[in-house]
Symmetry: C2
Subunit: 167 residues, 2 copies
C-alpha cells in the first residue's frame, strides 16, 4: 500500500464532510433564529476551544501534517475566520491544497523523520508513520469529532452519516 | 509501509489512552462524590449514546475492524459492562486481542474486499484501505473523541495529552 493512500484521501473526505456539517449548522441557525456567532463560539466546557477553532485545527492537522510528511514548506494560516462562510472557505482552501499532493511525494515518508512542534517551545521528532499514527491523525479526528459534538450538543440535527461524509 | 503498522498499533495506543482517561474519570467521581453511574450514563445530547456505549463501540471498531481486515472470524461482544472496572476490562480484553494479530495477516489487506454491516440490514463491500479510511478509522476516533468530550463536558480534568496517551 502507499502511504499517500492512508493519509491525503482520508483528510479530504473528512474535511468535505465537515463542510456539509457546517452547512447544516448554518441552516439550523436560520431555522431557529440563532445568531451564527453563538454556535461558532460554542464550547463543550469553558476551557475547551470553540467551534471555530476546532474547525481551524482540523484544517491545520490535515494540511500541515501532509506538508510535514511530504517534507515541503508548511503553510502559514492566520486563523481569522469569523463566519460559517469563512470557515467553509478555509476548508475549501485546505482541500485544494491537499489535492496538490502527489502519491510520489509520500514514498518512503513513513520511515523518514518528521520534526514538529508539540506544545510551547517543544519540538518532537518521530518517524513519519508514528508522527501520523500518534499525533497527526488522533489530533485531526479529535477536532473533527469535537466540532461534531459541539453541534450535536447544541441541537443541530446531524448524525454519524454526516460525520462520515456519506449523508 | 505495512498495512498492519497503520492499523493495529494505532488502535492499541488509543485504547490504552482511553483506559487512562477512565481512571481519571473514576477518580473524579470519588473526589467529587459523584455516583459512577451518572458519568457512565452521561450523553452530550439526549439522542446520543452514553459514555459506556461510546467505550464499547471504540473497542468494537478496533477489534472487529482488525478481524475484518485480517479476514478472521469477527469476535462477538455482549456489551454488558456497567462499571468503570468492567469497561477497563473490556478495553484490556480488546488490547490483548489486538496483540494477537501478526503483520503478515495484513499483507495485501488494503486491496482485498471487506464486507461489513453498515446500518440495519445493510452490508457494504469496500477494499480494505477504503474500509479502514472511510469507515473503521473515522468511527473508531469518533467514539474515543466523544467519550473524551462527554467527560470534559462533565468537568473531568483531562486534556489532549490524555487523549493521545502521552500524559
Amino acid at each position: 500500500m502507499s502511504f499517500y493512500d492512508a493519509t491525503v484521501p482520508l483528510f479530504i473526505q473528512m474535511l468535505t464532510a465537515l463542510t456539509g456539517i457546517l452547512n447544516k449548522a448554518e441552516a439550523h441557525c436560520q431555522a431557529k433564529g440563532i445568531q451564527p456567532e453563538v454556535l461558532l463560539s460554542a464550547r463543550l466546557y469553558p476551557d475547551m476551544l470553540p467551534l471555530t477553532k476546532q474547525v481551524q485545527l482540523a484544517c491545520d492537522f490535515a494540511g500541515k501534517s501532509a506538508a510535514r510528511l511530504a517534507h515541503v514548506e508548511v503553510p502559514a494560516t492566520a486563523d481569522t475566520e469569523k463566519s460559517f462562510d469563512e470557515l467553509r472557505q478555509r476548508l475549501a482552501t485546505t482541500v485544494d491544497y491537499l489535492k496538490t499532493f502527489k502519491p510520489e511525494q509520500f514514498e518512503g515518508a513513513d520511515a523518514k523523520d518528521v520534526t514538529f512542534p508539540a506544545g510551547a517551545n517543544t519540538n518532537l521528532t518521530l518517524k513519519g508513520q508514528q508522527f501520523f499514527n500518534r499525533f497527526a491523525l488522533p489530533n485531526f479526528f479529535f477536532h473533527t469529532s469535537i466540532a461534531h459534538g459541539i453541534l450535536r450538543h447544541n441541537g443541530v440535527e446531524i448524525g454519524k452519516r454526516d460525520f462520515l461524509g456519506v449523508a
